[in-house]
């Protein structure tokens, strides 16, 4: 190859090298995200988001000197995880740090509480690969991870849809509503307010099947 030809080919060679570098970077980024997804979907750990949607005076306070660590979110506070979200004026979560082999330090939620105007939106697995949609509101919501319970007090109301093909939706009111987060079981009690539980179930009425007469 002559010198002139070599000089002429230089821009193409450098362009090729640039493309090769770009392809390598793209490949690495794809690999990185695939790894991250694998970790999340593997169920080894989960991400929980805490944020504020309030415009003024919203803040998240972290009390690291306390044991367990306290996370307090004020002002349109939202706590969001894979199953759903809770929104309220104030959210308090207590968590402990735990060293997990091969995964470094992870947090474990000891308790979570929402106060104020609480709204709940969850999707839960039910039989037959269905997902029940749970929407609720109350003045106070507590999560007890040890017992897998979600406890709603302060004029709690709950609406469940998608439980079965026959039941279109169920509406419930009580002084205290307890939900088992593993089985999805709901318990309606009078609670401190002595409100008598009230549950309305709406049955899906299917139109009668038409038979064609020959």
């Amino acid at each position: 190859m002559s010198m002139r030809a070599f000089v002429r080919s230089l821009p193409f060679v450098s362009l090729g090298a640039c493309l090769l570098c770009a392809a390598f970077i793209w490949h690495m980024s794809i690999m990185g995200s695939a790894l991250a997804l694998q970790e999340v979907s593997g169920g080894q750990f989960e991400f929980v988001k805490v944020y504020c949607i309030g415009q003024r005076g919203s803040s998240i306070k972290l009390m690291l000197r306390k044991e367990p660590i306290e996370v307090i979110a004020y002002g349109g506070a939202v706590i969001e995880w894979s199953q759903g979200r809770i929104q309220s004026d104030t959210v308090i979560a207590r968590l402990i740090q735990k060293g997990v082999q091969g995964k470094g330090v992870l947090g474990t939620v000891v308790s979570a509480e929402a106060m104020g105007n609480v709204s709940l939106d969850m999707r839960m697995d039910v039989e037959g690969e269905r997902k029940a949609h749970v929407v609720g509101s109350c003045k106070r919501l507590q999560i007890d991870p040890k017992e897998s319970l979600l406890i709603m007090t302060g004029s709690p109301q709950i609406k469940v849809s998608g439980i079965s093909p026959e039941v279109s939706q169920a509406l419930g009111k009580a002084g205290r509503i307890t939900m088992n987060l593993e089985s999805g079981e709901l318990l309606f009690e009078p609670g401190d307010e002595q409100l008598l539980p009230e549950v309305n179930v709406q049955i899906e009425r299917k139109p009668p099947e038409k038979t064609m007469k020959k």
């Binding site: 080894q44 750990f45 989960e46 991400f47 929980v48 988001k49 805490v50 944020y51 504020c52 919203s58 803040s59 998240i60 306070k61 972290l62 009390m63 690291l64 000197r65 660590i69 996370v71 979110a73 995880w81 894979s82 979560a93 968590l95 740090q97 735990k98 997990v100 995964k103 470094g104 330090v105 992870l106 947090g107 474990t108 939620v109 000891v110 999560i143 991870p145 040890k146 897998s148 987060l181």
Partner: protein, 205 residues
Amino acid sequence: MRLLASLFGFALLISVVAVGFLAKLWWQQEERAQVETAIQSEHNVARRSSLEALMAQVGGLKLRGEKLLGREAASGREFEIGFDELSYSGNVLKLRKPVCSVMDEGAVVASFSGSSVIVSVQKQLLEFIGDVVLKSNKHNAILKSSRMRWRWSDGEVLAIGGVSFALGGMLIGSADSARADTVLGEVELSGRPSLQLRISKWLKY
């Protein structure tokens, strides 16, 4: 022969004159350098003493070697600030590439670093500027921002602009600003605050 001798003599004379002239030049240069050094050291002594007087005035800071030493009034923790360059005018000191280590019983519990820091002696305030990092060894946490103010009288930290927070491998956060204490025992994120927790189990433990 006579001609050669006279030429040699002339050359010798020229050489002596040249050596004399060079010696005079060297002597003058040496003298000037000595005077300049004396002036410089007098100036430095004056600058240093006025600087020390300024720092001791309110803030109770001391300049020892290439480090500024002080004490956090509220907790009694000692701190030292290492730097690359120091300049000052009026009541304000400016340090380039500062690293401020806060110590409790001899162990470093927290450290600040940034591109530069402005020391307001009278306000007992350090204002770190540019990629500021506050690392707490006590709680294994890191607070980063573009500007950070630390008041060494009460240990209050105010981080402004592009705040990010990390606690070990389990929690990351972001906000527009944050308030904290020196060792990050308490951190308040405000202005679009958000946290992401990496938890081992949710609703079970």
